[in-house]
C-alpha cells in the first residue's frame, strides 16, 4: 500500500530513484541560467524538446533593455532548439501548464518553486533550480528522494465567505514554514470532491510554503471533467490505506477568512483581528489566485462600486483574460476603478508592475509576504480574493461579506 508519490515514483519513501521526466519547464527568470548552464555543459541539442517548455511570466513584457536582451536570447534559443515557447502575455507557467498540459500520474519539474501547484492533477510536480533543469533538459531524467507524505484530510464543505485560499492559509499556519520539509502533502477526504480544479491549484500552490516537495490531489471526477474540457482523457486515482508520516485534519465548514501578516506566511490570523489596517495597494492575481474563478469572485463583489485604494488585477493567463473579457468580468473590474496588468506574475516578486514604496502596505492574493519581497520597506498581507475585494472597497483590511 502506497502514497500517491510512492505510486508515481514507484519506490517507497526514503529511497533515491532516477526517473524520466514527462514535462520540464523554466520561465524567463530561471531559463536564462538554465540556458547558460547548458552552454557550460557543452549540450547543443535537447533530446526530447517535446517535453520541454519555456514560459515567459516573471517580468513581462520586458521592463529594461537588459531584461529585453535576455528574453530575446531565450526566444532565439527556444526557436533553434525546438522548445515550445509561451511568450509574453501567455501567462504564468503553472497556469499555462494547468490548461490541459499536465495529466495525472506524470512526473513534472519546473524551474520555479511553485511547481507544486500542478500536483493538483495527481501528478508528482516539484520545483528545481536552473542547473538541475539544464541536466534534465540534457538527459530527460533526474534523481529524486521519494518523500514521506503528510495527509491533509478535508472534511465538510466551504461555505460563507471562506474560499480555498483560506484553507491554504489555514494549513500553512498549522504546519508552519518548515512543517512539511522534504515531504509531500496529499489532500484527501470527503471534502476534497467539493473543491474545484481552480481551488485545488490554489491549495497545492502553497505546499512549498510549508517546505513540502509537492502538494497533491488524487485525480477524481472533478479532475477528469476539467481535463475533458481540454480534450484530455485521464484515469481516476484511488487513495490507499497507508503509511502517512503525519496527518492534519481540516474541517472546511469551520474555516473563516484568514490573513498571513508580515513577514511570515505562517503567521496566520483571522481577518477580524487585523480589520481596519490601512492599505496602499491591493493586488489580485498570481499562480495562487489569478484564475478565472478568482477574477469572477472579485468582480461579483466590486461590481457597480468603486475601489478606495490602488488595486492591481493580473489575470494568470491569456485564456483567463479572454474568459474574463467574454463574460463581462473584466469590464466590471475596470469599471470599479482597478488597473489590469498583463497576464503573468505581476508585482509578486517585486521586480515590476506594482512594486511597493517604503512603508507602503499591500494586501495581496499571492503566496509570499517575505520582508521587502514586493519592494524595500513594503509590508505584505496575504488573503483570499473575497477579502481582497472587500478590502479594496474600503481601503482597509475588511472581512468579506458572509464572514
Amino acid at each position: 500500500m502506497s502514497t500517491l508519490c510512492e505510486q508515481i515514483l514507484g519506490a517507497p519513501a526514503g529511497e533515491y530513484v532516477d526517473r524520466p521526466v514527462d514535462l520540464a519547464f523554466a520561465h524567463d527568470g530561471t531559463g536564462v541560467l538554465t540556458r547558460e548552464t547548458l552552454r557550460e555543459m557543452g549540450v547543443d541539442t535537447i533530446p526530447h524538446p517535446e517535453r520541454v517548455r519555456l514560459i515567459f511570466d516573471h517580468i513581462v513584457p520586458a521592463n529594461t533593455s537588459i531584461t529585453a536582451d535576455l528574453q530575446k536570447e531565450l526566444r532565439e534559443y527556444a526557436c533553434s532548439s525546438g522548445i515550445a515557447l509561451s511568450d509574453v502575455g501567455g501567462g504564468i507557467c503553472h497556469q499555462v501548464m494547468s490548461e490541459g498540459v499536465v495529466r495525472p500520474g506524470q512526473i513534472v519539474v519546473g524551474a520555479d518553486s511553485h511547481t507544486c501547484t500542478l500536483g493538483a492533477f495527481g501528478a508528482f510536480a516539484t520545483g528545481v533550480g536552473a542547473t538541475d533543469m539544464a541536466a534534465i533538459w540534457a538527459s530527460g531524467s533526474t534523481w529524486f528522494r521519494v518523500p514521506e507524505t503528510v495527509r491533509v484530510t478535508l472534511a465538510g464543505r466551504l461555505d460563507g465567505a471562506a474560499e480555498p485560499k483560506d484553507v491554504a492559509l489555514a494549513y500553512v499556519g498549522k504546519l508552519g514554514m518548515d512543517g512539511a520539509s522534504y515531504r509531500a502533502l496529499e489532500f484527501l477526504g470527503d471534502g476534497a470532491a467539493g473543491i474545484s480544479m481552480a481551488g485545488r491549484l490554489t491549495l497545492c500552490n502553497m505546499a512549498v510554503e510549508t517546505g513540502a516537495k509537492t502538494g497533491m490531489f488524487y485525480a477524481d471526477d472533478v479532475t477528469l471533467q476539467y481535463l475533458a474540457g481540454y480534450g484530455v482523457a485521464a484515469e481516476r486515482q484511488e487513495p490507499e490505506e497507508c503509511c502517512a508520516a503525519a496527518s492534519v485534519a481540516i474541517d472546511l465548514d469551520a474555516v473563516a477568512p484568514l490573513v498571513a501578516v508580515p513577514h511570515r506566511v505562517d503567521t496566520v490570523r483571522p481577518v477580524a483581528e487585523v480589520a481596519g489596517t490601512p492599505l496602499d495597494q491591493v493586488f489580485v492575481g498570481t499562480c495562487t489566485n489569478g484564475r478565472f474563478e478568482d477574477l469572477q469572485r472579485f468582480a461579483r463583489i466590486v461590481r457597480g462600486r468603486q475601489v478606495a485604494v490602488r488595486t492591481i488585477v493580473v489575470p494568470a493567463s491569456r485564456s483567463v483574460l479572454r474568459q474574463a473579457a467574454a463574460t463581462g468580468v473584466l469590464a466590471d473590474i475596470v469599471e470599479a476603478g482597478c488597473m489590469i496588468a498583463a497576464p503573468g506574475c505581476g508585482p509578486c516578486l517585486g521586480a515590476h508592475s506594482g512594486v511597493l514604496g517604503e512603508g507602503e502596505v499591500c494586501l495581496s492574493t499571492a503566496n509570499r509576504n517575505f520582508k521587502n519581497r514586493m519592494g524595500v520597506g513594503g509590508e505584505i498581507y496575504l488573503s483570499s480574493v473575497a477579502t481582497a475585494a472587500a478590502s479594496a472597497l474600503t481601503g482597509t483590511i475588511t472581512e468579506p461579506e458572509g464572514a
Binding site: 533550480g129 542547473t131 517546505g211 517575505f370
Partner: protein, 156 residues
C-alpha cells in the same frame, strides 16, 4: 569533502528573497549577485562572508527556487553552510553549484572557527565536534566534482 572558515551566524527561515532580492536577478553577471547579497537584511554582512562558514537556523534557504541565491553565497566566498534543516530546492541548488551544505545542530558563536569533514561525518565549532546527517552518495559525488556541470562533464 572538507572545509573550514570563520562562523557567520544567521537566524531561522532565511528566505532566498533576503539572500538576493528579485530586483537583481535579471543579469548573467554572477558578481552582481554577490555584490547585493543580504542587502535588505544587513548590508554589513557581505564583507564578512569571504572565507566564512554560515551557521544558520532551521529551514535555511526557503522560498523561491532562484539559484542566484546559492551562486551569490559561493561567489561571496562562503565555504559551507551548516543548518539543522534546509529548504529542499536550496539544498539541491547548493550541491549543484558545489557549495557544501551540512545538516547538523550546532551552537553559533560569531567568528568561531568552524571545520567540517563530510566523508567522516562531522562539523567542529571551536573544537567541539557534532555529527552531521549524511548526504547520499550521489550528492557527495556531485559536490566532490565541484558541482553538477563538472560532474556531468566528468561522466562523458
Amino acid at each position: 569533502m572538507h572545509g573550514a572558515g570563520h562562523a557567520v551566524c544567521l537566524g531561522s527561515d532565511i528566505d532566498t528573497d533576503i539572500i538576493i532580492a528579485g530586483r537583481y536577478l535579471r543579469t548573467k553577471n554572477r558578481s552582481v549577485w554577490a555584490e547585493h547579497i543580504f542587502e535588505d537584511l544587513d548590508p554589513a554582512l557581505a564583507p564578512r562572508l569571504a572565507g566564512a562558514v554560515i551557521l544558520a537556523g532551521k529551514n535555511m534557504g526557503c522560498g523561491s527556487s532562484r539559484e542566484q541565491a546559492v551562486i551569490a553565497l559561493k561567489e561571496a566566498g562562503v565555504a559551507g553552510i551548516v543548518a539543522p534543516s534546509f529548504a529542499r530546492i536550496f539544498f539541491r541548488n547548493a550541491i549543484n553549484v558545489g557549495l557544501p551544505v551540512i545538516e547538523a545542530e550546532v551552537p553559533c558563536r560569531e567568528g568561531a572557527s568552524v571545520r567540517f569533514d563530510l566523508d567522516a561525518g562531522w562539523v567542529e565549532v571551536d573544537g567541539d565536534r557534532f555529527p552531521v546527517r549524511p548526504l547520499s552518495p550521489r550528492m557527495i559525488e556531485i559536490l566532490r566534482a565541484g558541482g553538477l556541470v563538472d560532474h556531468w562533464r566528468s561522466q562523458r
